[in-house]
Amino acid sequence: MLSWLENQVVFSAVLSLVLITGMMTCVAYCIYFERKISAWIQDRQGPNRVGFLGLFGNFHFWGLGQPIADGAKFFLKEDIIPARVDKPLFILAPAISMIVALIGFVVIPWGGSYMLGETLMNVQVANPDVGLLYILGVGSMGVYGVVLGGWASNNKYSMYGAVRATAQMLSYEIPMGVAILVVVLASGQLRLEEIVLGQVGGNGLWNIVLHPVSFLILLITLFAETNRAPFDLAEAEQELVGGFHTEYSSMKFAMFFLGEYVHMITGSAFICVLFLGGWELSFFGIGPAFPGTGIEDVGLISVIIKIGVLAVKVAFFIFLFMLVRWTLPRFRFDQLMRLAWKGLIPVSLGILLLTVFGLYMGWQRSVLFNLGGEIAIVAATLGVVVLANKPVTGRQDNMPAVTQPLGG
């Protein structure tokens, strides 16, 4: 009956269709929940009017129809292309943003293996040899949408937004890459599925237990990579109107917006796979595995459980993203740069050295060694940074005169 499905290529195609549909729905509801959470934090009601065409009388389902109405609104609004923009790039930029965000999810292992008839399938669209690097590569392409959009808009605020985004992405990609390298060294794998299998209960601990500081670094850089607060300097409303998307309207604006949310989902799934055991639930790899989430469970129900476990973990991170956005103020740009170059990069390089040393001595599975070493590195970096740099704050009277700026 389903024998035509028993082929990884066909299965992957079906899976990616399902995933894209699911992802877009998730994104729509993420926006709804973001508004609800911000309302909760600010002691408001949030969207609560749009139900389902009033079919249920006065009951509005807490505004659950809002995403549908929003989507319709974005499609129906007038799409303005300002007169003096660079038209081809202006149209291309949101598309790049969206596509790059969407193709990242293909290497995420959503639910281990699935025994379909006689064949063992990966519940993963593709399992390339270089899965982890693929995510890094795709993530590094993400900045093009912002840069090209900002440049094509021919608007000084958009331009400043694009310049900020470029500098930010380039700076935060370094600690991100090094933090990921630590996981690669610890597990000896670049395939995401194998990285998950290395953390499954019985096989080993979740990587967050072994490398908590790397986890934090990756989380911070993920905030920066997705351009979310407190790192959303590229679209700082108070300074830059809307930053790189000032000139965008209607569906083109929505595509930037959707791209950001998809990026958030993919990034959360990525961090779960790397540090939190992916689809596996066994309390940091210490306790017994939750029934149905072992390696040997390949039935339909266990796949659903595994996907559910990963979805809950991802939902937690998305909630964290939203909580941080609505509670923390935005960084200033020099603070942003200082955090990356004087904080995250030395710490991540130190952890990389520590991991290599641990591997050489055979201590890579020792929680005590890793934890102690990482705390020492963080303390040393903090000490050096605090002692060596008095932070520059407030308006400076005796700053050296700026000679010609590059773009002036």
């Binding site: 660079d86 040899d129 440049w151």
Partner: protein, 259 residues
């Protein structure tokens, strides 16, 4: 026979690039596009007839090889540098796909991360900061395009003249490799077996086996380059007056005619 067809194709391709080169009087872009696409089609047809064994991967090879050549042509002929950078990103992606077809996945992804992710973004950064006043004469006037095309395509023609002999080389010539190559004790990993363990593992074993010293040296090279780049770009220089009108400090935005 093949070299002569190639010479003709290269001559036509050179003509296409000449037509597309930015000129103050405007370039004949449409004619160049038609000619260029024709040349690429001819080149790919020649490859398919003479070199390529039938295989399902070949469709992707033709598609991305053609796209790479077209995009490369646009990089060198587009009058707006930002577009050159975007087309260059396209070239990188096409080359990455061509490397994946050759089962060099690690190299392909490294190419994308390093070029598209780091180098090109920095280029785009500088272009955007520098090109704020619209098209300037630097970009609309090529420098001796005819001679440049002649020199370059003569070199390509020299390679093309020998291309038939490459085809004659047996594919598995491990036994007959010159001594200089085999001096380095390399675990020869044939692509067939390489698929089992993965390209990444195989290339890692080579990089950290026989080429370990070279890896260390490249690290040192990168460090020196980093120090050099910082030293160069932090230097304060006097601004020479070039006589060109300057934009007031802080003004951003370029004159683009409304479409």
């Amino acid at each position: 026979m093949i070299p002569y067809i190639l010479y003709v194709l290269f001559a036509l391709g050179g003509a296409a690039i000449y037509l597309a080169m930015p000129k103050p009087s405007g370039s004949q872009r449409r004619a160049a596009l038609v000619l260029g696409v024709g040349v690429i089609a001819g080149l790919l047809a020649l490859m398919s007839m003479h070199f390529v064994a039938p295989n399902s991967n070949n469709f992707f090879f033709y598609m991305f090889a053609g796209l790479a050549i077209l995009a490369a042509g646009r990089v060198v002929t587009h009058p707006v540098p930002t577009y050159s950078a975007v087309y260059f990103a396209l070239v990188i992606l096409c080359v990455a796909v061509l490397l994946v077809i050759q089962r060099a996945e690690f190299l392909a992804v490294a190419l994308i991360i390093i070029y598209a992710g780091a180098i090109l973004v920095t280029y785009a950064f500088v272009i955007m900061l520098a090109q704020q006043s619209g098209a300037v004469s630097t970009d609309t006037r090529a420098r001796e395009p005819l001679m440049a095309i002649l020199v370059s395509f003569v070199i390509a023609g020299a390679i093309a003249g020998k291309i038939e002999q490459i085809d004659a080389v047996p594919v598995k010539m491990t036994a007959q490799v010159p001594q200089a190559v085999t001096d380095v004790p390399i675990e020869t990993t044939l692509p067939a077996t390489e698929m089992e363990s993965g390209h990444t593992k195989a290339i890692g074993e080579i990089m950290f086996g026989p080429y370990l010293v070279v890896v260390e040296l490249s690290g040192i090279l990168l460090l020196i380059a980093m120090v050099g780049a910082i030293a160069i770009s932090r230097k304060q220089v006097p601004i020479e007056d070039t006589g060109e009108p300057k934009l007031p400090v802080g003004q951003i935005g370029r004159e683009v005619p409304p479409f």
